[in-house]
Symmetry: C2
Subunit: 215 residues, 2 copies
Amino acid sequence: MDFQTEFKPITVQPQLIEGKSFDMINEEIGEHPFTEEQYPVVQRIIHASADFELGKSVVFHPDAVRAGVYAIRKGRKIVADVQMIQGGINKPRIEKFGGSVHVYISDPDVMEEAKRLDTTRAIISMRKAVREIEGGIYAIGNAPTALLELIRLIKEGEAKPDLVVGMPVGFVSAAESKEELAKLDIPFITNIGRKGGSPVTVAAINALSIMAEQV
Amino acid sequence: MDFQTEFKPITVQPQLIEGKSFDMINEEIGEHPFTEEQYPVVQRIIHASADFELGKSVVFHPDAVRAGVYAIRKGRKIVADVQMIQGGINKPRIEKFGGSVHVYISDPDVMEEAKRLDTTRAIISMRKAVREIEGGIYAIGNAPTALLELIRLIKEGEAKPDLVVGMPVGFVSAAESKEELAKLDIPFITNIGRKGGSPVTVAAINALSIMAEQV
């Protein structure tokens, strides 16, 4: 029996699936506040979440998209709060420009320090990232405490990220951490409310890296 | 300057954050159709997504939770459709029972075969999983084509999973694939609609593995 010929609907080809999804998003999104430059990021966030409410809750600093695309083209390092984000980011596109993705949350020194201070590994991992990396793109999709710590480090003048994509999900401090990020006058992409997460954070980074490839 | 003492709100401790989130979910969820046995799975899905609508869209086969807990305790293998799920599953808890998590989507033979047949790697990875593993728990959070292929293999009698957690997200075939899963009389956990994804699929598996630990 030949499964191959029997089971092959038209939407099986990966490119067709993505194109069809994007058409559906364009048809269904209705009115939205996003510029032409911002829209591809939102589109990919909706694609990753199937959630228009989440997509429409995205907020951009006016410089965010240009700063992000520029930083990727310059091969600036990307710091992720958790491995799931590192796993989801399209590495060949980042590496093409000399970039790389870094996660510190499972480093032995970070784990030890967090235990010693009775705090989250996420917080300590941000402190380490700021020590290790100059500038950089921060992709925080999981830990509100990571985002709050990064905001503190920015306010203290210790961190000067090229872009912060901050979309942690959750009930405790997630919405609040994003509100704090949106008050900063630095390039950021965030969203309003409790929703968010690794896949939408990854989607934003991947959208920017696709834009970085286009001239 | 001592950052540690200055910046340490009460909710910084990981266990406290989770406990507080679960209390908030219990307070806000309102009426729901889930049994006592199913509720911890739904609770963790809401925790991972901050989305009550998604949580309440979860559908269980009546045997699903018991079958899943039993399979984890027996150390049955877990097959994930994508690396992000493998990354998110709490491995020490699975390994304690002798289990392990497997992803085939980036295997060279899977990639070659998908190219040759002009189909998705997800489909081919399911065919490989069924050849390699007897029974097993399938955790599909990304690729509707993987879930549709697994359903076909189950119907053909070629796959006999211990449990299928099928919660792919997306616009093309995601909702349809989950409807098909819900028609099967095998242990499954799925949800209605387009929403879903890796984090909620991971949440379901982790909830079951926590239950497996409890006597």
